[in-house]
């Protein structure tokens, strides 16, 4: 069943490669020492960039079983060969560490100007270890690399002010700044990293890892030009891709933006409402809470990241006569319309905008934050938490109280902060320790990471696709919702487990390449095929990779990060949606009365493992699979060291 992989050695590496700067910077925050080394041509070929680099370094260098918020955890910044070129959406970077939220492989990707500035500064990867004795920020100013103490200047400040202050300090409005807010500083497991005001490396608590290392921010700027291996051909192909990226393939991201999905998901019964109790909402049906209304009444501008031809960032403004939050600008997408909107039963747009601006600025993930608030709201309605606990009421649909809750949750203040300040899984545990039975049932997470804007009732392929995601509940590791939504498979059925598994695997492997290149998933439709994706890599780097090669490397990267999870204690039961999806059906809509069947789900899950060449019982990659993927170095090292929460 496992096909014979094309060996990496079959792809010749030129003596000189382009695109990559091949500079790895190692920083030991404990003693403040910096050192530089060269990433070999083969390393760049085999691990492609962002996600691949992160997976390899975490496997090689992150001590097994490490406490994610201890100095021994490592924090990796990486980008691929494309930032700063005009390949659409290529100014992206990834951060990687063992996640405090999941206890497993942590990764988050962001865009804005940081990737391009870091590339021009000559950086390819930064590996950060240890813990600074006092709060510092790091400066990567071309070849000058140093730390600056910031206990009295930046520590405690929001991400937006931090960015402004640093840009003023450097007298440079183009300075690329990634920073954490008070959420990450206090080590909230949901702590995020914000850059360019509206862009976040949000998921899996990477901001908390920075906070645990006393690292407030990293600033980048560079003046090095970027040359590519085949400039004339690259220019031609890039221009074509820019055009296509403004065609039908990306129309939904540009026009209404992802919130266009509110209406279409609602029709499919997969727009999670009231903490996933329902998948449809009358506020969408009656036109109160739709992408159309959002755009018509609130969006004032669409903004792009560096070198992005789409420009998906929809900026909303609350008018100056609003009683609570006048003149507030926020950056809104589908996920946030779900997390602080439908999941919280909240159709008051300004409340959504205010909550999102709080999470972005004070520094926690806006998806995890909203889903944790939705859990609190359901717990409130179920009597598990009370007004006496919180100091205020918090039913679904709350507005000012939701904002109050959100602020306390981020800052770790009050009952809200103490119980809910580290996400849903911790909140469930803490409540149950307080004797509040069944609280965990209302935490909508997989592996500890809060669910994104997709309900799983009657989404059987995606129930598997989201559950097997390496970083926990996530729609961006394989995007297999399309398999159900577009009707490739019977969304309510349990047939074709292997075929479904293969379809998920195929998506997941190419998504791993997209995350390694790193480009935006919004541009996955602009390439004619995987061969064209491989071509663009060749034109920039000079390494003549093929379609099969990048698919295989995608597979290797997924497998390696899976190996990381196994070493940290992953078991089959971690690849499972929350209990609610097996017990409690929607009361209306297309998925009314439907729950996941345990045996059916397990059958589909085994089908995916089989398609991956993993043991169908345990879900652990077989030695043969690892060998075929060139991951021999993991064989015999998959014993659990623990550390999973």
């Amino acid at each position: 069943m496992v096909k014979n992989m094309s060996k990496t050695k079959e792809i010749p590496v030129p003596d000189q490669i382009k695109g990559f700067t091949q500079v790895r910077l190692d920083v030991n925050l404990t003693d403040g020492k910096f050192s530089k080394s060269k990433l070999s041509n083969e390393f760049c070929r085999d691990w492609i960039g962002g996600y691949g680099f992160g997976a390899k370094v975490l496997w090689d260098e992150c001590p097994a079983g490490v406490d994610p918020l201890s100095p021994e955890n490592i924090f990796v910044y990486a980008h691929g060969p494309f930032p700063g070129t005009i390949l659409p959406t290529s100014s992206k970077y990834g951060v990687f560490a063992k996640s405090p939220l999941t206890g497993q492989f942590g990764m988050a990707i962001s865009s804005g100007s940081v990737g391009a500035q870091a590339r021009r500064a000559g950086i390819n990867m930064i590996v950060i270890k240890g813990k600074a004795p006092e709060p510092v920020y790091m400066v990567i100013d071309d070849d000058d690399h140093y730390l600056v103490p910031c206990k009295d200047t930046l520590w405690g400040k929001g991400c937006w002010e931090t960015e402004e202050l640093l840009r003023e300090e450097f007298q440079d409005q183009r300075l690329g700044v990634l920073s954490i807010g008070p959420g990450g500083e206090r080590g909230s497991f949901m702590g995020c990293i914000t850059n360019d005001r509206n862009r976040q490396a949000g998921r899996t608590g990477m901001g908390a890892v920075m906070g645990s290392k006393n690292l407030k921010a990293i600033c980048f700027r560079g003046t090095k030009g970027i040359s590519v291996a085949h400039p004339v051909e690259f220019f031609k192909l890039a221009k074509k891709l820019i055009k296509v990226a403004n065609g039908p393939a990306t129309a939904k991201y540009r026009d209404l933006g992802t919130p266009a999905g509110i209406t279409s998901y609602n029709k499919l019964g997969m727009m999670p409402t009231f903490n996933h109790r329902e998948g449809t909402w009358d506020k969408v049906d009656d036109g109160t809470f739709t992408g159309d209304i959002l755009n018509q009444d609130w969006v004032v501008k669409k903004v792009a990241c560096s070198q992005c031809s789409i420009g998906c960032d929809h900026i909303t403004k609350i008018p100056k006569d609003h009683p609570n939050w006048p003149n507030l600008y926020s950056s809104i997408d589908q996920e946030l319309c779900y997390s602080f909107g439908s999941a919280c039963g909240n159709s008051d747009w300004p409340t959504v905008f205010k909550c999102v601006s709080l999470t972005d600025d004070l520094g926690i993930d806006a998806i995890s934050g909203g889903v944790t608030a939705a859990m609190a709201m359901e717990c409130f309605e179920e009597g598990i938490i009370t007004k006496e606990d919180l100091g205020y009421e918090l039913p679904f649909g709350s507005t000012v109280n939701l904002v109050r809750f959100t602020e306390e949750m981020i800052l770790g203040k009050g009952f809200a902060g103490k119980v809910f300040g580290d996400g849903t899984r911790e909140a469930g545990k803490r409540l149950e320790e307080m004797g509040r039975k069944s609280a965990s049932y209302y935490g909508m997470h997989i592996k500890g990471l809060e669910m994104p804007a997709f309900d799983l009732h009657g989404m059987n392929s995606f129930a598997v696709g989201m559950s097997v995601s390496i970083r926990g509940a996530c729609h961006l590791r394989n995007g297999s919702y399309g398999l159900d939504a577009k009707g490739n498979f019977d969304r309510f059925g349990y047939d074709k487990p292997f075929e479904r598994g293969e379809a998920i695997k195929k998506l997941e492997d190419i998504y791993a390449i997209i995350d390694s290149y790193i480009v935006c998933k919004f541009t996955r439709g602009i390439y004619e095929n995987d061969a064209e994706m491989a071509k663009v890599f060749e034109l920039v780097t000079g390494i003549p990779v093929t379609e099969t090669f990048i698919q295989d490397r995608g597979e290797a990267i997924v497998n390696l990060s899976k190996c990381f999870n196994i070493r940290e204690g992953w078991t089959r039961n971690d690849d499972k949606p929350p209990e609610r999806f097996f017990k409690q059906p929607h009361t209306k809509g297309p998925a009314k009365g439907v729950v996941l069947k345990e045996d059916g789900y397990q059958k589909l899950l085994s089908g995916y493992y089989e398609a991956r060449g993993w043991d169908t019982k345990t879900g652990i990659p077989t030695d043969e699979t690892l060998k075929n993927l060139g991951l021999d170095f993991t064989i015999g090292k998959l014993t659990t060291k623990g550390g999973k929460k």
Binding site: T85, I86, G225, I226, V303, A304, S306, Q307, I310
Partner: protein, 184 residues
Amino acid sequence: MSQTTKKRGGVVHQFIIVDPNLCTGCETCESVCSFVHDGEFNPINTRIHRVRIEPILNVALACQKCDDAPCVRSCPEKALEQDKLTGSIIVDDDKCNGCAFCIRACDFGVLNLHIQTQKALICDLCETMKDDYINEERGEKYPACIDVCPKEAISLKDVEQIGEEKRIDAVKRLFGDILKETEA
């Protein structure tokens, strides 16, 4: 590239205009500007300059081709010269010593110094772009930023066109009722 005209005695000052309503601030124009001139992407060597003022203002600026241009007048080395026909400012790299007086003189901040050569850079509507990067469909040199701008926010206009467009906008705004009647 400029069309033959008898207007203003044959002098047509076309320059780069960017519509802030369409501009998303993506910097593609800057990257491409440096690339078609130098063969590498480096926005610090651009001749068109994106400005972003958070949270919503995005636009790019390039040479406005001022009459009796202050940059030309300010140059102690007489390295800058204005082409009478096109209005473009031409930099003589042999004379330019990188003193940056032109940058200080420009009211729009659209000049800078090349980070490697230290010579003044100013938009010449891609007259000095490399032949390799000429748009095949056009078959001639043409501002590359216009061709790649994903939002078609950049255009090449002369003062008459700009005035005309502004007037039409204003008239639509002021007398739109009459237009509506004709449509009905």
